[in-house]
Protein backbone atom coordinates (compact mmCIF):
# COMPACT_ATOMS: atom_id res chain seq x y z
CA UNK A 1 0.00 0.00 0.00
CA UNK A 2 2.71 2.40 1.04
CA UNK A 3 4.70 1.80 -2.14
CA UNK A 4 1.68 2.64 -4.28
CA UNK A 5 1.11 5.88 -2.46
CA UNK A 6 4.72 7.01 -2.85
CA UNK A 7 4.48 6.04 -6.51
CA UNK A 8 1.48 8.32 -6.91
CA UNK A 9 3.18 11.11 -5.10
CA UNK A 10 6.14 10.87 -7.43
CA UNK A 11 3.82 11.17 -10.42
CA UNK A 12 2.42 14.34 -8.94
CA UNK A 13 5.92 15.81 -8.85
CA UNK A 14 6.27 15.39 -12.58
CA UNK A 15 4.22 17.53 -14.92
CA UNK A 16 3.12 16.23 -18.31
CA UNK A 17 4.63 19.16 -20.24
CA UNK A 18 7.89 18.69 -18.35
CA UNK A 19 8.01 15.03 -19.32
CA UNK A 20 7.17 15.84 -22.93
CA UNK A 21 9.86 18.49 -23.09
CA UNK A 22 12.48 16.19 -21.59
CA UNK A 23 11.58 13.34 -23.93
CA UNK A 24 11.86 15.63 -26.94
CA UNK A 25 15.18 16.95 -25.68
CA UNK A 26 16.46 13.41 -25.27
CA UNK A 27 15.24 12.44 -28.73
CA UNK A 28 16.93 15.39 -30.44
CA UNK A 29 20.27 14.65 -28.82
CA UNK A 30 19.96 10.93 -29.43
CA UNK A 31 19.52 11.80 -33.11
CA UNK A 32 22.61 14.02 -33.03
CA UNK A 33 24.62 11.16 -31.56
CA UNK A 34 23.27 8.45 -33.83
CA UNK A 35 22.98 10.10 -37.25
CA UNK A 36 26.75 10.10 -37.98
CA UNK A 37 26.84 6.42 -37.04
CA UNK A 38 23.89 5.71 -39.33
CA UNK A 39 25.77 7.53 -42.10
CA UNK A 40 28.77 5.30 -41.49
CA UNK A 41 26.69 2.14 -41.78
CA UNK A 42 24.62 3.20 -44.75
CA UNK A 43 27.58 4.69 -46.66
CA UNK A 44 29.39 1.40 -46.43
CA UNK A 45 26.43 -0.27 -48.09
CA UNK A 46 25.79 2.38 -50.77
CA UNK A 47 26.74 1.75 -54.38
CA UNK A 48 28.98 4.47 -55.86
CA UNK A 49 26.17 6.32 -57.63
CA UNK A 50 24.26 6.65 -54.36
CA UNK A 51 27.34 7.90 -52.49
CA UNK A 52 27.38 10.91 -54.78
CA UNK A 53 23.69 11.57 -55.03
CA UNK A 54 22.42 15.12 -54.77
CA UNK A 55 20.86 15.86 -52.34
CA UNK A 56 22.66 13.26 -50.19
CA UNK A 57 20.47 10.59 -48.59
CA UNK A 58 20.67 9.36 -45.03
CA UNK A 59 19.64 5.81 -45.74
CA UNK A 60 20.81 3.47 -48.45
CA UNK A 61 18.26 2.57 -51.14
CA UNK A 62 19.88 -0.40 -52.83
CA UNK A 63 22.27 -1.93 -50.32
CA UNK A 64 25.24 -3.72 -51.84
CA UNK A 65 28.52 -5.20 -50.71
CA UNK A 66 30.48 -3.75 -53.66
CA UNK A 67 32.44 -1.43 -51.35
CA UNK A 68 33.81 -4.39 -49.43
CA UNK A 69 34.71 -6.17 -52.67
CA UNK A 70 36.38 -2.97 -53.93
CA UNK A 71 38.26 -2.66 -50.68
CA UNK A 72 39.74 -6.13 -51.01
CA UNK A 73 40.51 -5.54 -54.64
CA UNK A 74 42.20 -2.22 -53.85
CA UNK A 75 44.20 -3.62 -51.00
CA UNK A 76 45.25 -6.84 -52.70
CA UNK A 77 47.11 -4.67 -55.19
CA UNK A 78 48.79 -2.61 -52.51
CA UNK A 79 52.34 -3.26 -51.41
CA UNK A 80 51.31 -4.46 -47.96
CA UNK A 81 48.30 -6.79 -48.10
CA UNK A 82 45.21 -5.51 -46.32
CA UNK A 83 45.10 -8.64 -44.17
CA UNK A 84 48.41 -7.52 -42.68
CA UNK A 85 46.91 -4.28 -41.33
CA UNK A 86 44.00 -6.25 -39.92
CA UNK A 87 46.39 -8.71 -38.30
CA UNK A 88 48.50 -5.90 -36.81
CA UNK A 89 45.50 -4.23 -35.24
CA UNK A 90 44.06 -7.48 -33.92
CA UNK A 91 47.41 -8.61 -32.53
CA UNK A 92 48.16 -5.29 -30.82
CA UNK A 93 44.66 -5.09 -29.40
CA UNK A 94 44.48 -8.65 -28.08
CA UNK A 95 47.99 -8.77 -26.63
CA UNK A 96 47.71 -5.33 -25.03
CA UNK A 97 44.27 -5.99 -23.58
CA UNK A 98 45.16 -9.42 -22.17
CA UNK A 99 48.30 -8.07 -20.49
CA UNK A 100 46.47 -5.06 -19.13
CA UNK A 101 43.71 -7.14 -17.51
CA UNK A 102 46.24 -9.48 -15.92
CA UNK A 103 48.74 -6.86 -14.71
CA UNK A 104 46.16 -4.35 -13.52
CA UNK A 105 44.14 -6.99 -11.64
CA UNK A 106 47.24 -8.43 -9.98
CA UNK A 107 48.22 -4.96 -8.79
CA UNK A 108 44.67 -3.97 -7.83
CA UNK A 109 44.19 -6.90 -5.45
CA UNK A 110 46.87 -5.98 -2.86
CA UNK A 111 46.01 -2.28 -3.21
CA UNK A 112 42.36 -2.98 -2.49
CA UNK A 113 42.67 -5.62 0.20
CA UNK A 114 45.96 -5.18 2.04
CA UNK A 115 47.57 -2.28 3.83
CA UNK A 116 51.31 -2.18 3.34
CA UNK A 117 54.01 0.49 3.10
CA UNK A 118 53.92 2.33 -0.23
CA UNK A 119 50.50 1.07 -1.29
CA UNK A 120 48.62 4.27 -0.64
CA UNK A 121 51.33 6.38 -2.20
CA UNK A 122 51.28 4.30 -5.38
CA UNK A 123 47.52 4.51 -5.63
CA UNK A 124 47.47 8.27 -5.20
CA UNK A 125 50.05 8.60 -7.99
CA UNK A 126 47.78 6.47 -10.19
CA UNK A 127 44.85 8.78 -9.39
CA UNK A 128 47.02 11.80 -10.16
CA UNK A 129 47.94 10.25 -13.50
CA UNK A 130 44.24 10.17 -14.44
CA UNK A 131 44.40 13.95 -14.30
CA UNK A 132 46.67 14.36 -17.29
CA UNK A 133 46.50 12.96 -20.77
CA UNK A 134 49.14 10.49 -22.00
CA UNK A 135 49.84 13.09 -24.71
CA UNK A 136 51.93 14.94 -22.13
CA UNK A 137 54.37 12.04 -21.93
CA UNK A 138 54.60 11.28 -25.64
CA UNK A 139 58.02 12.84 -26.22
CA UNK A 140 59.89 11.37 -23.25
CA UNK A 141 58.22 8.06 -24.08
CA UNK A 142 59.77 8.25 -27.51
CA UNK A 143 63.17 8.76 -25.90
CA UNK A 144 62.59 5.83 -23.54
CA UNK A 145 61.39 3.58 -26.37
CA UNK A 146 64.43 4.35 -28.47
CA UNK A 147 66.71 3.56 -25.49
CA UNK A 148 64.93 0.24 -25.11
CA UNK A 149 65.26 -0.36 -28.84
CA UNK A 150 61.50 -0.75 -29.15
CA UNK A 151 60.89 1.87 -31.82
CA UNK A 152 59.18 0.26 -34.79
CA UNK A 153 58.00 -2.80 -32.89
CA UNK A 154 54.64 -3.93 -31.55
CA UNK A 155 56.09 -3.71 -28.03
CA UNK A 156 56.20 0.10 -28.17
CA UNK A 157 52.38 0.12 -28.32
CA UNK A 158 51.54 -3.06 -26.40
CA UNK A 159 53.73 -2.88 -23.28
CA UNK A 160 52.80 0.65 -22.10
CA UNK A 161 49.14 -0.35 -22.54
CA UNK A 162 49.62 -3.01 -19.83
CA UNK A 163 50.08 -0.24 -17.28
CA UNK A 164 47.17 2.05 -18.23
CA UNK A 165 46.04 3.83 -15.09
CA UNK A 166 42.26 3.94 -15.60
CA UNK A 167 42.04 0.15 -15.60
CA UNK A 168 43.94 -0.22 -12.34
CA UNK A 169 41.83 2.49 -10.74
CA UNK A 170 38.49 0.90 -11.70
CA UNK A 171 39.64 -2.61 -10.81
CA UNK A 172 40.90 -1.56 -7.37
CA UNK A 173 37.70 0.32 -6.55
CA UNK A 174 35.64 -2.71 -7.61
CA UNK A 175 37.73 -5.20 -5.64
CA UNK A 176 37.18 -3.26 -2.42
CA UNK A 177 33.64 -4.61 -2.36
CA UNK A 178 34.80 -8.20 -1.94
CA UNK A 179 33.99 -9.19 1.66
CA UNK A 180 37.13 -9.58 3.78
CA UNK A 181 35.58 -12.58 5.53
CA UNK A 182 35.75 -14.54 2.29
CA UNK A 183 39.49 -13.93 1.92
CA UNK A 184 40.14 -14.62 5.61
CA UNK A 185 38.35 -17.94 5.33
CA UNK A 186 40.51 -18.95 2.38
CA UNK A 187 43.63 -17.94 4.27
CA UNK A 188 42.64 -20.06 7.27
CA UNK A 189 42.16 -22.99 4.89
CA UNK A 190 45.81 -22.54 3.95
CA UNK A 191 45.46 -20.93 0.53
CA UNK A 192 48.42 -18.83 -0.58
CA UNK A 193 47.99 -15.19 -1.62
CA UNK A 194 48.43 -16.17 -5.28
CA UNK A 195 45.85 -18.91 -4.99
CA UNK A 196 43.42 -16.52 -3.35
CA UNK A 197 43.98 -14.04 -6.15
CA UNK A 198 43.49 -16.47 -9.02
CA UNK A 199 40.84 -18.74 -7.52
CA UNK A 200 38.70 -16.40 -5.44
CA UNK A 201 39.27 -12.76 -6.37
CA UNK A 202 39.49 -13.05 -10.14
CA UNK A 203 36.25 -15.03 -10.62
CA UNK A 204 34.43 -12.52 -8.40
CA UNK A 205 35.45 -9.47 -10.41
CA UNK A 206 34.36 -10.66 -13.84
CA UNK A 207 32.30 -7.50 -14.47
CA UNK A 208 35.42 -5.41 -13.91
CA UNK A 209 37.43 -7.54 -16.37
CA UNK A 210 34.88 -6.80 -19.05
CA UNK A 211 35.18 -3.11 -18.29
CA UNK A 212 38.96 -3.19 -18.51
CA UNK A 213 38.67 -5.19 -21.71
CA UNK A 214 36.40 -2.69 -23.45
CA UNK A 215 38.44 0.33 -22.33
CA UNK A 216 41.77 -1.14 -23.33
CA UNK A 217 40.35 -2.68 -26.49
CA UNK A 218 38.87 0.59 -27.65
CA UNK A 219 42.08 2.54 -27.02
CA UNK A 220 44.29 0.03 -28.85
CA UNK A 221 41.82 -0.67 -31.65
CA UNK A 222 41.89 3.02 -32.57
CA UNK A 223 45.67 3.48 -32.43
CA UNK A 224 47.43 4.34 -35.64
CA UNK A 225 50.93 3.59 -34.34
CA UNK A 226 51.84 7.27 -34.24
CA UNK A 227 55.55 7.95 -34.36
CA UNK A 228 56.42 4.65 -32.69
CA UNK A 229 55.84 2.46 -35.75
CA UNK A 230 57.10 3.50 -39.15
CA UNK A 231 57.35 0.26 -41.15
CA UNK A 232 54.44 -0.21 -43.47
CA UNK A 233 54.18 -3.92 -42.54
CA UNK A 234 53.67 -3.11 -38.87
CA UNK A 235 51.15 -0.29 -39.29
CA UNK A 236 47.69 -0.92 -37.84
CA UNK A 237 44.32 -0.54 -39.52
CA UNK A 238 43.43 3.06 -38.56
CA UNK A 239 46.56 4.14 -40.40
CA UNK A 240 45.39 2.29 -43.51
CA UNK A 241 41.97 3.88 -43.10
CA UNK A 242 43.62 7.31 -43.08
CA UNK A 243 45.52 6.46 -46.27
CA UNK A 244 42.39 5.27 -48.05
CA UNK A 245 40.47 8.40 -47.12
CA UNK A 246 43.32 10.57 -48.40
CA UNK A 247 42.65 8.95 -51.76
CA UNK A 248 39.61 11.23 -52.11
CA UNK A 249 36.46 10.62 -54.09
CA UNK A 250 37.45 7.39 -55.84
CA UNK A 251 38.16 5.82 -52.45
CA UNK A 252 34.92 6.92 -50.77
CA UNK A 253 33.34 3.48 -51.02
CA UNK A 254 36.22 1.39 -49.64
CA UNK A 255 36.83 4.08 -47.01
CA UNK A 256 33.26 3.74 -45.76
CA UNK A 257 33.69 -0.05 -45.65
CA UNK A 258 36.80 0.18 -43.44
CA UNK A 259 35.10 2.73 -41.20
CA UNK A 260 32.18 0.38 -40.66
CA UNK A 261 34.56 -2.44 -39.74
CA UNK A 262 36.45 -0.17 -37.32
CA UNK A 263 33.22 0.85 -35.63
CA UNK A 264 31.37 -2.41 -35.43
CA UNK A 265 33.83 -4.43 -33.35
CA UNK A 266 34.05 -2.21 -30.23
CA UNK A 267 30.33 -1.47 -30.39
CA UNK A 268 29.54 -5.19 -30.52
CA UNK A 269 31.72 -5.81 -27.47
CA UNK A 270 29.99 -3.02 -25.61
CA UNK A 271 26.56 -4.42 -26.43
CA UNK A 272 27.33 -7.78 -24.86
CA UNK A 273 29.11 -6.33 -21.82
CA UNK A 274 26.99 -3.27 -21.05
CA UNK A 275 25.43 -4.44 -17.80
CA UNK A 276 28.76 -5.63 -16.40
CA UNK A 277 30.34 -2.29 -17.23
CA UNK A 278 27.60 -0.32 -15.49
CA UNK A 279 28.01 -2.62 -12.50
CA UNK A 280 31.73 -1.83 -12.39
CA UNK A 281 31.16 1.88 -12.72
CA UNK A 282 29.02 1.77 -9.57
CA UNK A 283 32.23 1.64 -7.59
CA UNK A 284 34.14 4.07 -9.81
CA UNK A 285 33.64 7.02 -7.46
CA UNK A 286 36.49 8.99 -5.97
CA UNK A 287 36.67 8.89 -2.20
CA UNK A 288 37.17 12.18 -0.45
Amino acid sequence: MSTISTGNQKRLNRSFTGDLFLTLFLAVFAAFMVIPLVFTVSNALKPLNELFLFPPTLLVRHPTLTNFADLFHLMSNSWVPFSRYVFNTIFITLAGTAGHVLFASAAAYPLAKHRFPGGRLLFSIVVLSLMFSPKVTNIPNYVIMSRLGWINSYAAIIVPAFAASLGLYLMKQFMEQIPDALLEAAKIDGASEYRIFFRIVMPLVKPAWLTLIILSFQALWGTSGGSFIYSEQLKPLPYALGQIIQGGIVRAGPGAAVALFMMIVPVAIFIVSQSSIIQTMTSSGMKE
Binding site: F39, A107, S129, P160, A163, L241, M262, V267, S284
Partner: protein
Protein backbone atom coordinates in the same frame (compact mmCIF):
# COMPACT_ATOMS: atom_id res chain seq x y z
CA UNK B 1 87.58 -12.25 28.64
CA UNK B 2 86.75 -14.55 25.77
CA UNK B 3 83.13 -14.34 26.45
CA UNK B 4 83.15 -10.59 26.59
CA UNK B 5 84.85 -10.47 23.19
CA UNK B 6 82.26 -12.74 21.70
CA UNK B 7 79.42 -10.80 23.22
CA UNK B 8 80.99 -7.47 22.31
CA UNK B 9 80.14 -7.30 18.62
CA UNK B 10 76.67 -8.65 19.12
CA UNK B 11 75.97 -5.96 21.69
CA UNK B 12 77.30 -3.39 19.24
CA UNK B 13 75.09 -4.80 16.60
CA UNK B 14 72.12 -4.56 18.87
CA UNK B 15 72.98 -0.98 19.61
CA UNK B 16 73.30 -0.24 15.92
CA UNK B 17 70.00 -1.88 15.22
CA UNK B 18 68.22 0.06 17.91
CA UNK B 19 69.78 3.22 16.46
CA UNK B 20 67.82 2.60 13.28
CA UNK B 21 64.71 4.72 13.61
CA UNK B 22 62.03 2.42 14.96
CA UNK B 23 59.59 3.63 12.29
CA UNK B 24 61.92 2.46 9.54
CA UNK B 25 62.46 -0.88 11.23
CA UNK B 26 58.74 -1.36 11.53
CA UNK B 27 58.39 -0.53 7.87
CA UNK B 28 61.03 -3.07 6.84
CA UNK B 29 59.32 -5.74 8.91
CA UNK B 30 55.95 -4.82 7.44
CA UNK B 31 57.38 -4.91 3.94
CA UNK B 32 58.74 -8.40 4.52
CA UNK B 33 55.40 -9.58 5.83
CA UNK B 34 53.73 -8.28 2.66
CA UNK B 35 56.15 -9.67 0.11
CA UNK B 36 53.31 -11.44 -1.72
CA UNK B 37 51.62 -8.10 -2.21
CA UNK B 38 54.79 -6.64 -3.66
CA UNK B 39 55.21 -9.56 -6.03
CA UNK B 40 51.66 -9.09 -7.36
CA UNK B 41 52.18 -5.36 -7.59
CA UNK B 42 55.60 -5.45 -9.25
CA UNK B 43 54.85 -6.03 -12.95
CA UNK B 44 52.28 -3.23 -13.14
CA UNK B 45 54.26 -0.86 -10.97
CA UNK B 46 57.50 -1.23 -12.93
CA UNK B 47 55.74 -0.49 -16.23
CA UNK B 48 53.71 2.32 -14.69
CA UNK B 49 56.81 3.99 -13.31
CA UNK B 50 58.70 3.47 -16.56
CA UNK B 51 56.01 4.71 -18.96
CA UNK B 52 54.02 7.22 -16.92
CA UNK B 53 55.97 8.59 -13.94
CA UNK B 54 59.47 8.63 -15.41
CA UNK B 55 58.33 10.38 -18.63
CA UNK B 56 56.78 13.23 -16.61
CA UNK B 57 60.05 13.69 -14.73
CA UNK B 58 62.08 13.48 -17.95
CA UNK B 59 59.81 16.04 -19.62
CA UNK B 60 60.34 18.47 -16.76
CA UNK B 61 64.13 18.05 -16.93
CA UNK B 62 64.34 18.23 -20.75
CA UNK B 63 62.15 21.34 -20.72
CA UNK B 64 65.15 23.27 -19.35
CA UNK B 65 67.41 22.13 -22.18
CA UNK B 66 67.88 22.41 -25.89
CA UNK B 67 67.66 18.85 -27.19
CA UNK B 68 67.35 17.48 -30.73
CA UNK B 69 67.61 13.73 -29.95
CA UNK B 70 71.04 13.48 -31.64
CA UNK B 71 73.30 15.71 -29.59
CA UNK B 72 73.57 15.69 -25.82
CA UNK B 73 70.98 18.07 -24.26
CA UNK B 74 72.30 21.56 -23.53
CA UNK B 75 71.10 23.40 -20.43
CA UNK B 76 69.27 26.61 -21.31
CA UNK B 77 67.48 27.48 -18.06
CA UNK B 78 64.08 29.13 -18.42
CA UNK B 79 64.66 30.04 -22.06
CA UNK B 80 62.09 27.58 -23.44
CA UNK B 81 59.45 29.02 -21.14
CA UNK B 82 60.18 32.65 -21.96
CA UNK B 83 60.24 31.74 -25.66
CA UNK B 84 56.81 30.19 -25.34
CA UNK B 85 55.15 33.30 -24.01
CA UNK B 86 57.26 36.06 -25.53
CA UNK B 87 58.44 34.85 -28.94
CA UNK B 88 56.01 32.21 -30.13
CA UNK B 89 52.82 33.82 -31.43
CA UNK B 90 51.43 30.51 -32.64
CA UNK B 91 51.68 29.10 -29.13
CA UNK B 92 49.49 31.92 -27.86
CA UNK B 93 46.89 31.05 -30.51
CA UNK B 94 47.12 27.42 -29.38
CA UNK B 95 46.61 28.45 -25.75
CA UNK B 96 43.60 30.58 -26.67
CA UNK B 97 42.02 27.73 -28.65
CA UNK B 98 42.79 25.12 -26.00
CA UNK B 99 41.21 27.19 -23.27
CA UNK B 100 38.23 27.88 -25.50
CA UNK B 101 37.81 24.14 -26.11
CA UNK B 102 38.36 23.23 -22.48
CA UNK B 103 36.14 26.07 -21.26
CA UNK B 104 33.26 25.01 -23.50
CA UNK B 105 33.71 21.27 -24.05
CA UNK B 106 34.70 20.58 -20.43
CA UNK B 107 31.64 21.98 -18.61
CA UNK B 108 29.21 21.29 -21.46
CA UNK B 109 30.24 17.66 -21.88
CA UNK B 110 30.12 17.19 -18.12
CA UNK B 111 26.62 18.59 -18.06
CA UNK B 112 25.63 16.44 -21.04
CA UNK B 113 26.98 13.33 -19.33
CA UNK B 114 24.95 14.08 -16.27
CA UNK B 115 21.71 15.24 -17.89
CA UNK B 116 21.59 12.30 -20.30
CA UNK B 117 22.48 9.82 -17.59
CA UNK B 118 19.71 11.31 -15.46
CA UNK B 119 17.12 11.16 -18.24
CA UNK B 120 18.19 7.73 -19.45
CA UNK B 121 17.97 6.43 -15.89
CA UNK B 122 14.22 7.08 -15.75
CA UNK B 123 13.53 4.90 -18.79
CA UNK B 124 12.51 1.25 -18.77
CA UNK B 125 15.52 -1.13 -18.67
CA UNK B 126 15.40 -2.08 -22.37
CA UNK B 127 15.08 1.46 -23.65
CA UNK B 128 17.68 2.51 -21.13
CA UNK B 129 20.19 -0.01 -22.48
CA UNK B 130 19.50 1.10 -26.05
CA UNK B 131 19.82 4.82 -25.26
CA UNK B 132 23.02 4.17 -23.29
CA UNK B 133 24.40 2.44 -26.37
CA UNK B 134 23.40 5.36 -28.63
CA UNK B 135 25.07 7.94 -26.42
CA UNK B 136 28.18 5.93 -25.61
CA UNK B 137 28.81 4.46 -29.06
CA UNK B 138 30.53 7.51 -30.65
CA UNK B 139 33.23 7.58 -28.00
CA UNK B 140 34.20 3.95 -28.61
CA UNK B 141 33.80 3.77 -32.38
CA UNK B 142 37.48 4.08 -33.16
CA UNK B 143 38.26 6.73 -35.74
CA UNK B 144 34.75 6.97 -37.06
CA UNK B 145 34.71 10.72 -36.42
CA UNK B 146 36.13 11.04 -39.90
CA UNK B 147 32.51 10.69 -41.04
CA UNK B 148 32.19 14.35 -40.02
CA UNK B 149 34.65 15.09 -42.77
CA UNK B 150 32.03 13.90 -45.23
CA UNK B 151 29.21 15.63 -43.37
CA UNK B 152 31.02 18.98 -43.56
CA UNK B 153 32.72 18.32 -46.88
CA UNK B 154 33.30 21.50 -48.88
CA UNK B 155 31.51 20.37 -52.08
CA UNK B 156 27.85 19.80 -52.76
CA UNK B 157 28.16 16.13 -51.78
CA UNK B 158 28.86 17.11 -48.20
CA UNK B 159 25.69 16.44 -46.22
CA UNK B 160 25.39 19.87 -44.65
CA UNK B 161 26.09 21.66 -47.92
CA UNK B 162 23.73 19.38 -49.81
CA UNK B 163 20.99 19.98 -47.29
CA UNK B 164 21.43 23.76 -47.25
CA UNK B 165 21.67 23.97 -51.07
CA UNK B 166 18.58 21.82 -51.47
CA UNK B 167 16.60 24.10 -49.18
CA UNK B 168 17.92 27.11 -51.08
CA UNK B 169 19.47 28.66 -47.96
CA UNK B 170 22.84 28.97 -49.68
CA UNK B 171 23.69 29.22 -53.36
CA UNK B 172 27.31 28.08 -53.22
CA UNK B 173 28.70 25.20 -51.15
CA UNK B 174 30.64 26.47 -48.12
CA UNK B 175 34.17 25.13 -47.64
CA UNK B 176 33.57 24.56 -43.94
CA UNK B 177 36.82 22.88 -42.99
CA UNK B 178 39.05 25.47 -44.65
CA UNK B 179 37.19 28.44 -43.27
CA UNK B 180 38.56 30.12 -40.15
CA UNK B 181 35.10 31.12 -39.02
CA UNK B 182 33.64 27.63 -38.97
CA UNK B 183 36.43 25.17 -38.43
CA UNK B 184 36.94 25.79 -34.70
CA UNK B 185 33.23 25.32 -34.00
CA UNK B 186 33.07 22.16 -36.08
CA UNK B 187 35.97 20.63 -34.15
CA UNK B 188 34.19 21.68 -30.97
CA UNK B 189 30.96 20.03 -32.09
CA UNK B 190 32.70 16.77 -32.99
CA UNK B 191 34.57 16.83 -29.69
CA UNK B 192 31.24 17.10 -27.87
CA UNK B 193 29.91 14.23 -29.97
CA UNK B 194 32.83 12.10 -28.78
CA UNK B 195 32.66 13.18 -25.16
CA UNK B 196 30.05 10.90 -23.59
CA UNK B 197 32.56 8.34 -22.43
CA UNK B 198 33.45 6.65 -19.17
CA UNK B 199 32.13 9.61 -17.16
CA UNK B 200 28.68 9.12 -18.67
CA UNK B 201 28.67 5.44 -17.70
CA UNK B 202 29.85 6.30 -14.20
CA UNK B 203 26.92 8.70 -13.81
CA UNK B 204 24.40 6.10 -14.99
CA UNK B 205 25.84 3.67 -12.48
CA UNK B 206 25.89 6.31 -9.76
CA UNK B 207 22.23 7.16 -10.31
CA UNK B 208 21.26 3.52 -10.02
CA UNK B 209 22.88 3.26 -6.61
CA UNK B 210 21.07 6.23 -5.07
CA UNK B 211 19.09 4.87 -2.15
CA UNK B 212 15.39 5.04 -3.12
CA UNK B 213 14.25 5.37 0.48
CA UNK B 214 16.00 8.74 0.61
CA UNK B 215 13.41 10.11 -1.81
CA UNK B 216 10.58 9.05 0.48
CA UNK B 217 12.36 10.55 3.44
CA UNK B 218 12.97 13.71 1.40
CA UNK B 219 9.28 13.98 0.50
CA UNK B 220 8.45 13.86 4.20
CA UNK B 221 11.06 16.54 4.87
CA UNK B 222 9.38 18.88 2.41
CA UNK B 223 11.15 18.35 -0.89
CA UNK B 224 8.67 19.62 -3.44
CA UNK B 225 9.97 19.01 -6.95
CA UNK B 226 12.38 17.20 -9.19
CA UNK B 227 15.00 19.94 -8.95
CA UNK B 228 15.12 19.97 -5.18
CA UNK B 229 15.25 16.18 -5.22
CA UNK B 230 18.21 16.42 -7.60
CA UNK B 231 20.16 19.00 -5.63
CA UNK B 232 19.51 17.77 -2.08
CA UNK B 233 19.36 14.01 -2.54
CA UNK B 234 20.61 12.69 -5.88
CA UNK B 235 23.72 14.81 -6.37
CA UNK B 236 25.13 14.45 -2.85
CA UNK B 237 24.59 10.67 -2.93
CA UNK B 238 26.60 10.31 -6.10
CA UNK B 239 29.33 12.78 -5.29
CA UNK B 240 32.16 10.22 -5.71
CA UNK B 241 31.00 9.48 -9.26
CA UNK B 242 30.63 13.19 -9.97
CA UNK B 243 34.25 13.69 -9.00
CA UNK B 244 35.44 10.77 -11.09
CA UNK B 245 33.44 11.99 -14.11
CA UNK B 246 34.91 15.46 -13.74
CA UNK B 247 38.44 14.11 -13.93
CA UNK B 248 37.62 12.17 -17.09
CA UNK B 249 35.94 15.12 -18.83
CA UNK B 250 38.48 17.78 -17.86
CA UNK B 251 41.48 15.71 -18.89
CA UNK B 252 39.91 14.90 -22.26
CA UNK B 253 38.83 18.48 -22.92
CA UNK B 254 42.39 19.80 -22.59
CA UNK B 255 43.79 17.12 -24.90
CA UNK B 256 41.92 18.00 -28.10
CA UNK B 257 44.20 17.16 -31.02
CA UNK B 258 43.24 14.15 -33.15
CA UNK B 259 39.89 15.57 -34.21
CA UNK B 260 41.52 18.88 -35.11
CA UNK B 261 44.28 17.23 -37.15
CA UNK B 262 41.85 14.91 -38.90
CA UNK B 263 39.15 17.43 -39.77
CA UNK B 264 40.94 20.75 -40.04
CA UNK B 265 44.24 19.36 -41.30
CA UNK B 266 47.67 20.15 -39.95
CA UNK B 267 48.35 22.98 -39.72
CA UNK B 268 44.74 24.16 -39.80
CA UNK B 269 43.89 27.23 -41.84
CA UNK B 270 45.59 30.19 -40.13
CA UNK B 271 45.98 27.96 -37.06
CA UNK B 272 42.25 28.37 -36.44
CA UNK B 273 41.96 24.93 -34.81
CA UNK B 274 45.53 24.75 -33.47
CA UNK B 275 45.74 23.48 -29.87
CA UNK B 276 48.49 23.07 -27.29
CA UNK B 277 48.69 19.37 -28.11
CA UNK B 278 48.99 19.91 -31.88
CA UNK B 279 51.63 22.55 -31.17
CA UNK B 280 53.43 20.02 -29.00
CA UNK B 281 53.25 17.41 -31.74
CA UNK B 282 54.57 19.94 -34.24
CA UNK B 283 57.73 20.60 -32.21
CA UNK B 284 58.06 17.06 -30.85
CA UNK B 285 57.53 14.88 -33.92
CA UNK B 286 58.18 17.22 -36.85
CA UNK B 287 60.79 19.76 -35.83
CA UNK B 288 62.46 17.56 -33.18
CA UNK B 289 62.97 20.50 -30.83
CA UNK B 290 62.47 18.20 -27.86
CA UNK B 291 63.45 20.78 -25.22
CA UNK B 292 60.86 23.26 -26.37
CA UNK B 293 58.23 20.55 -26.91
CA UNK B 294 58.84 19.29 -23.37
CA UNK B 295 58.36 22.78 -21.98
CA UNK B 296 54.98 22.88 -23.74
CA UNK B 297 54.15 19.43 -22.35
CA UNK B 298 55.12 20.55 -18.85
CA UNK B 299 52.84 23.59 -19.10
CA UNK B 300 50.00 21.36 -20.29
CA UNK B 301 50.63 18.98 -17.41
CA UNK B 302 50.44 21.81 -14.89
CA UNK B 303 47.27 23.22 -16.43
CA UNK B 304 45.50 19.83 -16.56
CA UNK B 305 46.40 18.73 -13.04
CA UNK B 306 45.78 22.22 -11.66
CA UNK B 307 42.28 22.53 -13.09
CA UNK B 308 41.42 19.01 -11.99
CA UNK B 309 42.41 19.79 -8.42
CA UNK B 310 40.44 23.04 -8.37
CA UNK B 311 37.32 21.31 -9.70
CA UNK B 312 37.66 18.49 -7.17
CA UNK B 313 37.68 21.09 -4.41
CA UNK B 314 34.55 22.73 -5.85
CA UNK B 315 32.67 19.45 -6.23
CA UNK B 316 33.14 18.65 -2.57
CA UNK B 317 30.69 21.47 -1.89
CA UNK B 318 27.85 19.99 -4.00
CA UNK B 319 24.61 19.76 -2.04
CA UNK B 320 26.07 21.26 1.14
Amino acid sequence: MDRAEIEGPSRQEQAARSMLPSALRWRLLEAKKHRHSYVLLAPYTILFLLFTVLPVLIAIVISFTSFNLLEFPKWVGWHNYTRMFLEDEVFLIAVKNTFLFAGIVGPLSYLMCFVFAWLVNELKPRTRALMTLFFYAPSISGNVFFIWQIIFSGDRYGYVNGFLLDLGIIQQPIIFLKNEQYVLWIVLLVQLWLSLGVGFLAFIAGLQTVDRTLFEAGAVDGIRNRWQELWFITLPSMRPQLMFGAVMQITASFAVADVSTQLAGFPSVNYAAHTIVTHLEDYGSIRFEMGYASAIATMLFIVMVGSNIVVQKLLRKVGD
